[in-house]
């Protein structure tokens, strides 16, 4: 029987360039969502969570110098810089050899290099890097990995699917190690699209709160190692993926089912594969986007699954909804909570605004966390649930 361990991770958002950096900021209650005054990303003011661009360029330039590549900044898109920094950070902390033929890269993204659609955005870059498979190939070549990368593009559950599929492929013996990397950048494309849905809050988002009025968009990148070999994972704790499931509401292309059935079935499937009961779960890292419908549906699903007492949070109040990166960034932070037995308050939450009670964290607390459930839902009615367990 193969155990699939999760290991070193990296997360990049408005509040940091590493997982440890994120945890430090979260403990200090730092919110990375601020009012973008209007400009290239959108004509009028809107709260956004943006990666510090100067710091990104600075770090990337330093990385290029250190690795002595002849390549210049202008040959990389913004998203590629994020992925390269994120993947390299994880490789530094773990013993995984990315050139090993038994290592697979799984990329999750909703829009990839969509900024290539903007006129003259990257004069030195081939326009066909807009294809998601080409982005995957670019990263694979950059790191000299020998396998065709898997590219998953499944709305906001993409990141979780990258982890779930990595888990399944390692368990099936197809690979020994997976570098699951998820990213999405902020563009006018995305901001204008979500605005057309009137789904963005005019203030930093408040997941599960009675005053919630929409989501806050964030950009980011997250990478996590999965391996059958714990000694290569880069963390002393033995944390494994024990179960996961993906479903579809089959209800509507943009609105979740009102009953929460699809997510409930995904949760039930994940728990069943993990051979766990709801009461075995110590912590839930929820999707919690702060839209009216998502949070209500998610609360219903969690309650239906018998998880209403389990401490839960959403990380999106700190750095927004990072779309294709969300599943990986938030899983990385959830696993960090497991490592350190500490849970964080759900930023933006003050008073419950869902019809089913769930136990949303209002403070940072110390708690032994041995089994964690991560959930997500996305456009198209897709849902995903994964269970992580400390052994």
């Amino acid at each position: 029987m193969v155990d699939v361990f999760v290991g070193a991770s990296n997360t990049i958002t408005s509040i940091g360039f590493s997982t440890a950096g994120h945890v430090k900021q979260i403990k200090a209650n730092k919110i990375g969502i601020s009012i973008y005054p209007g400009g290239n990303l959108y004509p009028t003011p809107v709260p956004l969570s943006l990666v510090d661009h100067r710091q990104l360029l600075d770090l990337f330039q330093k990385y290029l110098c250190k690795t002595k590549t002849d390549l210049q900044l202008g040959l990389f898109t913004r998203l590629e810089m994020l992925h390269i920094l994120s993947i390299s950070d994880v490789l530094k902390s773990s013993g995984i050899n990315i050139k090993d033929p038994r290592t697979l890269i799984i990329l999750s993204t909703t829009k990839g290099n969509i900024d290539l659609l903007e006129k003259d955005s990257y004069p030195a870059i081939e326009p066909d890097r807009i294809y998601l498979w080409k982005l995957g190939e670019f990263l694979k070549s950059f790191f000299n990995n020998s396998n065709k990368p898997l590219v998953v593009s499944n709305a906001c559950i993409s990141g979780m699917l990258a982890i779930l599929i990595g888990f399944r492929l390692i368990k099936a013996g197809m690979y020994d190690h997976v570098i699951a990397t998820g990213g999405d950048i902020m563009t006018e494309f995305v901001v204008s699209g979500f605005q057309s849905f009137q789904s963005l809050s005019p203030k930093p988002c408040k997941p599960f709160d009675a005053a919630r009025d929409g989501l806050s968009l964030g950009e980011g990148c997250g990478t996590i190692v999965l391996s059958r070999n714990h000694s290569l994972c880069g963390i002393p704790e033995k944390i494994i993926v024990v179960g996961g499931s993906c479903t579809n509401d089959a209800h509507h292309i943009s609105g979740p089912s009102r009953t929460g059935e699809g997510l409930y079935v995904a949760i039930r499937g994940a728990l069943k594969e993990a051979s766990l009961d709801p009461l075995d779960i110590d912590y839930i890292s929820a999707h919690g986007t702060a839209t009216d419908y998502n949070d209500e549906m998610e609360a219903k699903a969690l309650s239906w699954a018998g998880l209403e007492r389990v401490p839960a949070n959403s990380f999106k109040g700190y750095f927004g909804h990072t779309l294709g990166a969300a599943g990986i960034i938030e899983s990385a932070l959830a696993i960090d909570s497991m490592k350190n037995n500490e849970l964080f308050r759900s930023a933006g939450f003050e008073n419950p605004g869902i019809s089913k009670h769930i136990n949303i964290l209002t403070d940072h607390i110390a708690k032994e966390v041995n089994r964690c459930l991560k959930t997500a839902s996305g456009f198209g009615g897709c849902n995903a649930a994964i269970v992580f367990k400390k052994i």
Partner: protein, 95 residues
């Protein structure tokens, strides 16, 4: 005047919402647009918001104001005419 606007709206709605095999004559201006009647959904409601802004310069919030304004083609027409009346009144006062 409202009849002209209603006919114009019917054509715009058919076009913007990709309503195939439906003519303005098929559409009852007083029938509910959502749940019954044409059975429009939440994306259609947001498209109507865009239609109102693009063709009539009116911005509304779909979830707060939509249900009332978009009840039927007639209620949309009435809202547009009231809005235009208010604008005319404002510009008359200021001139």
């Amino acid at each position: 005047m409202i009849e002209d606007l209603i006919l114009k709206l019917k054509k715009e709605i058919i076009n913007e919402l990709n309503l195939e095999n439906i003519t303005p004559e098929d559409m009852d201006a007083e029938a509910p647009l959502f749940r019954k009647g044409l059975g429009l959904d939440s994306i259609d409601a947001l498209e109507l918001v865009v239609l109102l802004e693009e063709n009539y310069g009116i911005k509304i919030n779909a979830s707060k104001e939509g249900p009332k304004i978009f009840y039927s083609i007639k209620t949309i027409a009435e809202y547009i005419l009231n809005h235009q009346k208010k604008i005319n009144q404002c510009s008359e006062r200021s001139s």
